[in-house]
């Protein structure tokens, strides 16, 4: 399993990426994936712009290490981790994670694991612009609880 981890600095098409990933893994029974996108909402609290910064010496190596760890935990045929950087508009994709495996549950668990760790361990910082101006997105307690699920008695 050689994972495909990439930072992307302009809009990308997650469905096209998934198409290529599925075509590259025709031997797999299943592909689980997650697309995170900038919520397109109305009203005062709506996000008008999202900015994603990162720390280049650590970010991509950390994503590669995460994909490798997923491949050690579950029998995977492939793993895809794509993450945007820079300025994003409402509706644009932020992240795409996909795992291809012979068995369905391995694919689901690997994608879920990767998302929880991208959220709380990968070297990204988000700030949002709303009508009230810019503010930094702080990590949520739930993000750490989600990651902690994998430590002692991992989900089955």
């Amino acid at each position: 399993m050689s994972p495909d981890a990439r930072l992307i600095d302009s809009p990308f098409d997650p469905s096209e990426e998934l198409r290529r990933f599925a075509e590259a893994h025709r031997q797999s029974g299943g592909i689980a994936s997650f697309i995170g996108q900038v919520r397109a909402e109305e009203g005062e609290a709506a996000v008008l712009e999202l900015e994603l910064s990162h720390y280049p010496p650590l970010t991509l190596p950390g994503m590669r290490a995460l994909a490798t760890e997923a491949g050690q935990r579950w029998p995977l045929d492939g793993m895809l981790l794509l993450h945007r950087t820079g300025s994003l508009s409402p509706g644009e994709p932020i992240v795409l994670v996909a795992a291809a495996a012979r068995h369905r549950r391995d694919a689901f668990l690997a994608a879920d694991f990767a998302m929880d760790h991208l959220k709380s361990e990968a070297w990204f910082w988000k700030r949002e612009r709303t009508a009230a101006g810019w503010h930094w997105v702080e990590p949520r307690a739930a993000d750490h609880a989600d990651k902690a699920r994998w430590e002692n008695s991992p989900p089955i």
Partner: protein, 76 residues
């Protein structure tokens, strides 16, 4: 002799910018102590990680090092 400091995420607000060049200090703690008190306090939080030239956990600095201050992340 100098160090380049990088402030990631919300630390760039505390520092008033993403990057700054300061005089050399051999020790990370001494470097932080040389900064404005409020910024120093923010950097001393145990939630802030430090990377020197891209490596976490280094505390002894060399001339020309890039010292990055990394607050809690919020990606995905």
């Amino acid at each position: 002799m100098a160090l380049t400091l990088l402030f990631l995420g919300r630390l760039q607000d505390a520092a008033g910018g993403e990057e700054r060049t300061v005089g050399y200090h051999r020790d990370l703690a001494a470097l932080i102590a040389s900064l404005e008190p409020e910024l120093g306090q923010a950097l001393r939080s145990d939630k802030v990680r430090v990377a020197v030239n891209g490596v976490l956990g280094v505390t002894v600095l060399a001339d020309g090092d890039e010292v990055a201050f990394l607050p809690p992340v919020s990606g995905g």
